[in-house]
């Protein structure tokens, strides 16, 4: 019996989060509207507690547990710690926004924590079954969060689109997985890697399986040509939910792609590399060019996400540990920048007013020089201007692409990021050189201002000293492969 229980030990953070969510669910149903802050405080406590447990049981070696369904390795632990940080920041940023729009309810926090649980499962999955279940847990929570603002027809439409296309993507992924299962006769990633490394006669089903898996992954990442849902969902969802969708799930998606392609289908790199090249080039092209035409900041950032996912794929398609390390660095940095820019929209919004138009940023420098400076840092980082960290992130993935001899790809990426710099710098121009037509004071609570300052300064500090974070990424990848 004790044997049965000790095998659960590596999954202690997951078990803790699940227990706390259930507790919050019960407590929130019992207390009245005046005590809604309990759910908020308990959610932050859950994230902090899970972080403590993860640090305490940090594993320096890959450990398989729970019948080979679960893997506890440095990659999983490091990514989980970043997930906690991201979710905590999302909660702090969105508190006031939720309260002003009547969304400050237990459901939001419960669903956010369920999504966190799904991401944790994805990050430490070593089996197709857990990968898929984690993904569904995350996706279902996100669909519900998008639809949470029931009276908004835009949000409902966004949720509907997200749900239908997400279900289609899950179907493709499952179809691909079933083909890989047909070829190898197993669902465990390590066994699949072993069998495929020995070689197989079933080339055609294997290649079709990879095609379907890559298509499903591209849907979830929002890479072109599977990107149609991204702008509508980002635009339609309440901004607090957009902030959530645009940040933490990207880290989980990175882990998902690396676990399947990098660990399970490692020996088939020649097959999936070309598919990722096409996805990366199209994403960078469509994302950066379509973003220019947007007047809504949420939509613009959605297209910017598409192009950033293209950049992240540059690192993964290298198929080397160096490439995965640089892609991990990129996705962590992107999450930080995305948190900051959507957080700024939340900070500038107030009851009955959404600061999601480009025009709302006009003359921000006169209203609040400090916030304008933070936004300037974030936009410079998104565009990849040194000395912000976005520059190093782009440099790292470009180096990974050049290393495998894809110089033309690196050149194309630089060209597209030059095009992209236009719409990031346009925001800087609006903030510093235009006159504000909205002069009401900026509401934002003290704690979200502090987090925003930390967020903006982190982008600058990591840009000046990128080595520590890079070392963490390299360590996590090297120790897990």
């Amino acid at each position: 019996m004790s044997d049965f229980l000790t095998q659960f030990a590596p999954a202690l953070p997951e078990i803790f989060v699940l227990a706390m969510v259930s507790l919050i669910l019960v407590i929130d149903a019992a207390v009245g509207d005046s005590k809604r802050y309990l759910a908020y405080v308990l959610s932050l406590a859950t994230v902090a507690g899970a972080a403590v447990l993860t640090v305490r049981d940090f594993s320096t070696m890959p450990v398989l547990a729970l019948g080979g369904l679960f893997i506890d390795d440095p990659l999983a632990d490091v990514l989980k710690l970043f997930l906690y940080l991201t979710v905590a920041m999302v909660l702090v940023y969105s508190r006031d926004y939720l309260r002003q729009r009547g969304l400050y309810k237990g459901e939001f926090f419960v669903l956010a924590l369920f999504a966190l649980l799904g991401m944790m499962v994805m990050v430490s999955a070593s089996h197709f079954l857990t990968l898929y279940l984690g993904l569904e847990l995350l996706s279902l929570s996100l669909y519900a969060m998008v639809a949470l603002q029931r009276d908004s027809s835009v949000a409902t439409e966004a949720a509907m689109k997200y749900f239908v296309l997400g279900a289609l993507a899950s179907g493709m992924l499952l179809y691909g997985m079933s083909m890989i299962y047909g070829v190898t006769g197993t669902l465990a990633l390590a066994d699949i890697a072993q069998i495929l490394a020995d070689g197989t006669d079933l080339r055609i089903p294997l290649v079709f399986g990879i095609v379907f898996i890559v298509a499903g992954l591209a849907f979830k990442l929002g890479a072109v040509p599977f990107h149609m849902w991204v702008p509508d969902v980002y635009h339609g969802a309440p901004t607090a939910v957009t902030l959530f969708i645009g940040s933490a799930p990207k880290i989980a998606a990175f882990a998902f792609v690396v676990r399947i392609l990098g660990q399970g289908l490692e020996s088939q790199v020649a097959e999936w590399r070309d598919m990722l090249v096409i996805l990366a080039v199209l994403s960078m092209a469509v994302g950066n060019i379509a973003a220019i035409a947007q007047t809504n900041l949420k939509r613009m950032l959605a297209y910017s996400t598409i192009s950033h996912m293209g950049f992240m794929l540059l690192g993964i398609l290298a198929g080397s540990q160096n490439g995965y390390g640089s892609a991990m660095f990129y996705v962590l940095v992107y999450t930080l920048m995305s948190l900051g820019s959507f957080g700024m929209i939340l900070l500038l919004s107030r009851a009955g007013f959404e600061a999601d138009k480009l025009d709302d940023f006009k003359g921000l420098n006169r209203r609040s020089p400090w916030l304008a400076f933070m936004m300037l840092l974030l936009m410079f980082s998104m565009a990849g201007v040194p000395p912000t960290v976005g520059f190093y992130a782009k440099l790292a993935v470009l180096q990974a692409a050049v290393e495998i001899g894809y110089v033309w790809l690196a050149v194309a990426a630089v060209l597209f990021s030059l095009i992209g710099a236009f719409y990031y710098l346009r925001i800087v121009k609006l903030m510093y050189f235009d006159t504000p037509h909205d002069t009401s004071p900026i509401a934002g609570s003290a704690d979200s201002r502090v987090i925003m300052s930390a967020n903006g300064l982190a982008v600058l500090a990591l840009g000046i000293l990128p080595q520590p974070l890079m070392a963490v990424c390299v360590y996590a990848i090297d120790a897990s492969f």
Partner: protein, 208 residues
């Protein structure tokens, strides 16, 4: 052709026909009933594959419970078929193209060249005392307990999401709590105010 092969083709033919009718039937109630037929024949195929427990669960849970619920929902909804079919012919070429492509791909993969009997041998049939249910239970609660719990969490999310998205408290509800009602005091309802008489006593009964 052996007896089981004949049964397989019998069930498979009905399954494909029922599946087609689910998407082509004009009446949604008919579509739901064809789905019942599809589940039923699929259960028959599973019995042939020695997956008795799954087959019985499919009939009990899907045919018995889920589809009945489905039928009720379909009957209660006021579905405007013409609106649903709007744009059907516009999208048909591209949808047809994609499905033909998918069918060709499936034929390429699932053909006997890759998964035929000469590539993969027929699995050994289990002895008569082999319990499918017991094996499934053992696997679910030992090797796959983590996945099993995760599936349970997903169901919990579905419950939370369904309640969060549909529970509404009506603002115009006239509901009264009886407990509150009996606790009411005279002073809560009745206010006695002193005021001057506005009419001389006995002056006129005509006003009433």
């Amino acid at each position: 052709m052996t007896y089981t092969t004949a049964i397989f083709y019998f069930f498979a033919a009905i399954l494909v026909f029922a599946g087609l009718r689910v998407i082509t039937a004009r009446n949604p109630v008919h579509a739901a009933l064809f789905l019942v037929l599809a589940f039923f024949t699929a259960a028959g195929l599973w019995i042939l594959l020695e997956a008795e427990f799954l087959a019985i669960t499919l009939v009990l849970v899907y045919v018995g419970a889920v589809m009945v619920l489905f039928l009720f929902v379909v009957m209660m909804l006021d579905i405007n078929l013409d609106k649903l079919r709007e744009g059907f012919w516009d999208y048909l070429p591209i949808a047809g193209f994609v499905s033909v492509l998918l069918m060709i791909e499936m034929a390429l993969i699932l053909g006997s060249r890759h998964f035929g009997l000469d590539v993969m041998a027929t699995p050994e049939p289990h002895p008569a005392d082999y319990s499918n249910t017991k094996e499934l239970g053992r696997l679910l609660y030992s090797d796959y307990v983590y996945a099993f719990e995760l599936a349970a969490v997903i169901l919990l999310v579905a419950i939370v999401a369904a309640i969060a998205l549909t529970l509404r408290r009506r603002k115009d509800s006239k509901y009264i709590d009886p407990a509150e009602q009996v606790k009411v005091k005279r002073n809560d309802r009745l206010r006695i105010i002193k005021m001057k008489a506005t009419q001389k006593p006995g002056a006129g009964e005509g006003g009433a």
